[in-house]
Symmetry: C2
């Protein structure tokens, strides 16, 4: 049985947001993103993939189609296909996100 | 921005496992399942959909292709397309799961 502990994915990078992949198929991927204060994923869009972020730890500032909101632990944010979406950790605490995308974008 | 709090989905049913949908498109759905002690989703398979369960609360007994394991909070369990998979809450505590499926099965 392929089972992973979310708490095992706690490695951050000094340079940029750190992505850890848990599972990936042609249909979806599930990652954990680790963001130190000030790190971000710049707004971008995927024409044919939906994304959901779930805040595991900390507080992040999400942007979806120009709307900006801060969300903390236990909040799930939906970025539908075609939407311009991004996330940044305004700090001061570190943040971890569970990120689901369906299907993976062509480049992934 | 479409954002949902996982902690808002805490309604259980006396009769059977209670499913709460957070987001659904043609590409995926994200649900919260609430299982009282003794409640279960019987083993079944989806030929063309992958599923991931993440334990939010409690302990559940997962079956994937005949392998049986109990997992608690923060564990993500992968049930790939074609696998026979199911979950039950052996109790005594209630359990809540975050459930992602890509794509939704034809009946959903």
């Amino acid at each position: 049985m392929d089972a992973k502990s979310l708490s095992a994915y706690t490695q951050f990078s000094e340079e940029k947001l750190k992505k850890h992949n848990l599972f990936q198929t042609d249909r979806f991927f599930l990652d954990v993103y680790c963001l130190k204060a000030g790190q971000a994923q710049k707004p971008h869009a995927h024409e044919a993939s939906d994304k959901v972020y779930v805040v595991l730890e900390g507080v992040c500032r999400f942007t979806v189609d120009g709307e900006v909101r801060e969300h903390g632990e236990g909040i799930a944010v939906f970025a539908p296909a075609g939407s311009e979406h991004g996330v940044e950790n305004p700090g001061p605490a570190a943040a971890r996100l569970l990120v689901m995308m369906a299907p993976p974008p062509p480049s992934k």
